[in-house]
Symmetry: C2
């Protein structure tokens, strides 16, 4: 059976849009509509292109301006906001296209998204091949996936549904689709903490310690996915993190280290798009986590990476067994893409530091760097251990001598001076903002703090506005093991609006055992 | 460990939105933006409520007008389209709220969507309990799920990921959340074809045959999910299908049968919302299919249901084994919710009838009902067998006598008269529309048609505009087994716009083996 069909030569001459793109031109008029990161194009219901192409609201379209092409969702203007030959864009689409009012854009249908067939096959239980993952990642990075299509992909890969081969292929695809940095000297070290532990802002300490010891540590961090703050969110409250690749390179060449937002340098554009859907869905995937972490390290030009995995019943990783499996996978996938990976499991039973939320976590970091007497000892200790391991893995000192070197550089002010220099190089050091609204949550009985539910504590901080409102979150006053008296503050909620403070307080009222206080034996 | 925390009595008195909803009032101003079925609320970036509540673009909000409440997605107007105390709505949101310009709406935050935790647990491999499914279905029916959340739910249930207990619970939840009809007499019969076979419009024949024989058959049909036409789409080209419950009841009481759109009578509002996401994702779930079919039958008040499962390599059900498993599940879940279900597997190797697309399929139906000599024999035969089985299952005739009775009523014009009467009662019989643009696809060699790829044929019809453009689709001239000569038409594409015709033609050019023609032995 061979190919046997052809459109009849007798058919009237028809031209698809691709043959005559110049006919699909619309003039841009500003409307000023913010749809967050979602590109939307507005066209009049009377637009002749809409009519001849059969486009309706929610059709996905390609919009081109010069050599820039984005994919946008169509909203049809049925009123008189736009003339038939005009179009408008959501704020995100104006930015992505670099468009100005009066510009002419070319609008065309999106070709069928072939890589979605592989996503569907995965949903039905088939494995994803390396070419399929490459095609998916390329389409996702180019913005061709609609939000519901991204949601289907994220859901199909959630939990442990990606095996090792798929994870390696996904990691490679994510590296290949973005920019990749190279550095004049090696080793290039890095560290990463697997999330889920509120307040775990060791990166902002490890980078200045390690850089002050002379190793190259160009750190790209992420914003929060499901937590109240990512490192990029916390760092942004003390210095700009939204640096271009060139600007980042200048900082690293000058200071030996940086702490910037990975999304701004677009080292892993597909990962950024995936995270935008993962965050509101609050879904995690081991394979995507590994690919996300390692692709960013490899793309940043790292050669040696220490990965911190906090383990605790309410941390992201809940058991030593899961940590071991995740650690093994990180090491093996790392090796497959040319990275030396070292795993450090840690205590994840309670938050590190006191603050939870971008600015509040940054304050803890500043206290440690300044060697304040009040600085959180747990955050300091964890950062020193990690920095010590990075110094050893990177060959700066022999095994067993990293911790002492790290401590020396912190205590003698070298790390603080390096942090200030890095912040200045990134655009200027600033004080983290303070919340306009706070509310103390007090103990209603005396006793010892028995347990802290990290997940619900994080939820309270998020309801208070973190990470969107940088000053929002909470400050924990009583860690596990501490004795509190009735009426004594256990934590303080911080918010930038009264509404958010009220939501968070309502949630805490409904969940009074977020911090569990054991009965005081001395009490009646 | 007992509850031990309370918001401090010393905290300043704060009031959440729920205590003072009257402060969150905005006046509606029309903008005329069509976002298909997605409710969107537009508010000014300078709106004091937005600011105090910390809302940003894409926040999901409750919008109330009188006692109607909808959930809408926030788009923030950064330009001057809206004053700070004004809001606007997408066209769908105006409709859902029944709002008019100048109305005051109350806007508030959406409470946390607790049922999403169960969806997440399902994604991670846990089973869904009956209470969890009830909560999910209730939230979905109320429009509380965002599109990406629906996409996660659909993906988590796709393929065979819902077991029998989950399927029964989902079916019950879907029945409970919608309206339910009851009828003055029993039995109430119904039939359903599991989709995937283009042109399978037997319902429009079975209903008038069975009703003309005196059984009660109140049929609610769906629109296309992933196919080029659903029965409701095809029926709509000859009569209104968008009837209220009361209107549907009047038609059935008068004529003994009807063919209306199930979504309009809201018998299964959750299912309608799920289908809006399933369709663009092109994902199917056995459990959701069973729940969707049976919940609509039970809600429509049916007692006896015949289910037609076409089996073929490119039909929705590809093997006899899958058909048997699906059939068993339909029978057992049906019994659990009080339905007598009978399964009829059928030939699904090629399209039934000639037309594919709403109007083209309706034309086939009209030809059969009018006993035209040119009417498609396969569609006629299949409809008669199904109608006969319904007549037997409903107790109208003993086993073995249904087919003869059905044939008599069709041949003597009783079915046609009943169809006309039903259409008139539904609002008036009309002629299906004709496409403005057509294109013949001809054989490039002579030979016998060996195989037809239903899926790709359906895709071509969809690219031509079906089901959105009712006249679009294609007409097949050469069924399997037919001999065609070189240059003879194999099928004709129909479209309402030149752009869509061109897309469909391009697709056919790229897939010349949609209809495979075997080499002619007589040819050199």
């Amino acid at each position: 059976m061979a190919p046997t069909l052809n459109p009849s030569a007798m058919a009237t001459g028809l031209s698809g849009h691709s043959d005559h793109p110049e006919t699909n031109v619309l003039r841009l008029r500003p409307l000023g509509i913010d749809t967050y990161q979602e590109p939307v194009i507005y066209m009049s219901a009377d637009c002749p292109i809409c009519r001849s192409e059969g486009w309706e609201a929610l059709t996905r379209l390609q919009v081109a301006l010069g050599d820039r092409v984005i994919v946008a969702t169509l909203n049809v203007v049925t009123g008189d906001l736009l003339a038939p030959d005009e179009a408008s864009l959501s704020d995100a689409a104006w930015r992505l296209l670099g468009a100005a009012p009066g510009d002419d854009v070319v609008v065309s249908s999106m070709p069928p998204l072939e890589s979605l067939s592989a996503v569907r096959a995965k949903v039905y239980g088939h494995a994803l091949s390396a070419p399929a993952l490459t095609a998916i990642v390329r389409d996702v990075a180019a913005g061709r996936y609609a939000a519901i299509e991204l949601a289907a992909f994220v859901t199909a890969c959630a939990g442990d549904r990606l095996d090792e081969a798929e994870t390696i292929a996904l990691t490679r695809a994510m590296i290949d689709v973005g920019d990749r940095l190279d550095w004049p000297r090696a080793p290039v070290v890095d560290k990463h903490s697997v999330g889920g532990l509120p307040g775990n802002r060791t990166t902002m300490l490890v980078v200045p310690i390690v850089a002050s010891c002379g190793l190259l540590m160009p750190k790209t961090s992420s914003r929060a996915i499901t937590s109240p703050a990512g490192t990029a969110d916390a760092m942004e409250t003390v210095a700009p993190v939204d640096l271009s690749l060139d600007a980042m390179r200048r900082v690293v060449e000058q200071e030996g280290g940086c702490i910037v937002w990975g999304g701004a340098v677009r080292l892993s554009p597909a990962d950024d798009a995936i995270i935008r859907v993962e965050r509101p869905l609050d879904l995690d995937s081991e394979g995507q986590l590994v690919a996300s972490v390692l692709s960013k390290k490899a793309a940043a030009g790292s050669t040696h990476v220490v990965i911190d995995i906090p383990v605790g019943p309410t941390a992201k990783v809940r058991s030593a067994e899961t940590a071991r499996r995740l650690g093994d996978r990180l090491v093996r996938v790392g090796a497959a893409v040319g990275l030396v990976v070292d795993i450090m499991p840690g205590d994840g039973t309670q938050p590190i530091g006191r603050g939870i939320g971008p600015a509040l976590e940054a304050r803890d970091v500043l206290a440690v760097l300044r060697n304040d007497a009040e600085a959180p000892a747990d955050l300091r200790a964890r950062a020193l251990v990690l920095a010590g391991r990075v110094l050893e893995l990177g060959g700066r000192v022999p095994e067993g001598e990293g911790l002492a070197l790290a401590r020396r550089h912190l205590e003698r002010g070298g790390a603080w001076r390096k942090f200030v220099a890095i912040c200045e190089a990134q655009g200027g050091l600033r004080e983290p903002p303070r919340a306009a609204y706070t509310r103390e949550i007090v103990a209603t009985r005396s006793g010892r703090v028995d347990a802290i539910d990290n997940r619900r504590l994080a939820r309270a901080a998020k309801l208070a506005g973190a990470p969107r409102s940088p000053a929002a979150g909470l400050v924990l006053h009583a860690p596990t093991g501490r004795h509190v008296s009735i009426g004594q503050p256990v934590f303080t909620l911080h918010a930038e609006s009264p509404g958010e403070l009220a939501y968070a307080a309502l949630y805490v009222e409904a969940n009074p055992d977020i911090v569990a206080i054991g009965a005081d034996e001395a009490q009646p």
